[in-house]
Amino acid sequence: MFDLLVFAQQEAGELAEGLTAVGRGIVYGGAAIGPGIGIGLVVGNAITAMARQPEAAGMVRTTMFLGIAFTEALALFGFVLAFIISG
């Protein structure tokens, strides 16, 4: 434990760098959870709709891409934020 503290003091720069990298990972990982579920819901329901009414497939597909685009934006904000974070 003591060794670890000494190490932390000596390698403060490296520690900060490492923690930044961990933070980036957490930011992107956290931001990807919700949109992942959301895109699954959007596409799953779109497939259900297409299977029930194949003649409406074109309209459903357009709306599905719109839904994906809006849902995906949150994950992409996380992706960009992960790059913005700097130690």
Binding site: T62, I68, A73, L76
Partner: protein, 257 residues
């Protein structure tokens, strides 16, 4: 860790920043992204000029591609989102779709392999253009105060919630819309570019290793597969950008009652 794996991943700035070739140090400096931007503009212009030069009643070759793509924008984008009175935006949306597609597809063109949209300036410029257009259309169609009222007050909201809803709607319509439009294109292309760079670096690093070379075929197969996937992404992002532009213009033209 990187010494253990024998893998030196280049920093992000080495992957997306290019040296200035001309007019160094001025705001008009030219680098690879600028050149690709201009080339994409000329490609869009040249494609439609060439396709329409000898227009025939029964289209062949290039005219065929141009006509079916215009048809795709008309039926797949405008009719689905704005309606028949949005036809006057057909040239704008078609040009925008092709411009974004060309500038994205440079991601996988050999020896160029860089989408200029992975620099934020290009999507930001396009998003500001779209922001100006849908606001101007809204003001022209509904008048300044009518447009503002229809944008920030959704129908059927209880009176006591109005201040909060108005604030949220204002931020979401006038600030989040252009920002998310730009970030969506930018982040998708940057992510695709980084993935391709990662697997290329991995392939190059595995190539010189004696024992690890057995995983090279898998890594290379994934690189090839992802390159194919990036063609889809380039097309899809151009399509999504165009259709969202159409949705925003449509919401300015036909307010919800």
């Amino acid at each position: 860790m990187s010494a253990l794996l024998g893998l030196e991943f280049p920093p992000i700035s080495h992957v997306i920043e290019w040296p200035e070739l001309a007019f160094k140090g001025t705001p008009f400096a030219i680098n690879k992204a600028t050149i690709l931007f201009c080339v994409s503009t000329l490609l869009t212009l040249g494609f439609f000029l060439l396709a329409g030069r000898k227009a025939k009643l029964v289209p062949v070759g290039m005219q065929n591609i141009a006509e079916s793509s215009v048809d795709f924008i008309r039926n797949g984008v405008i009719m689905q989102t704005i309606g028949p009175d949005g036809m006057r935006y057909l040239p704008f949306l078609t040009a925008m779709f092709f411009f974004i597609f060309f500038i994205n597809i440079f991601e996988i063109v050999p020896f160029i392999q860089f989408p200029a949209t992975s620099r934020f300036a290009v999507p930001a410029f396009l998003a500001i253009l779209v922001w100006l257009i849908f606001n101007v259309v809204g003001v022209a169609k509904q008048g300044f105060f009518g447009y503002l009222k229809n944008s920030v007050i959704p129908p059927g909201v209880p009176k006591f919630l109005l201040p909060l809803v108005m604030l949220i709607e204002f931020v979401s319509v006038f600030l989040v819309r252009p920002f998310s439009l730009a970030v969506r294109l930018f982040a998708n292309m940057l992510a695709g570019h980084l993935i391709l760079v990662t697997f290329s670096v991995l392939c190059a690093a595995l190539f010189v290793k004696q024992l690890a070379v057995v995983i090279l075929p898998f890594s290379f197969a994934l690189l090839v597969g992802l390159t194919g996937f990036e063609i889809l992404v380039a097309f899809l992002q151009a399509f999504i950008f165009t259709i969202l532009t159409a949705v925003y213009i449509g919401s300015s033209m036909h307010p919800e009652h």
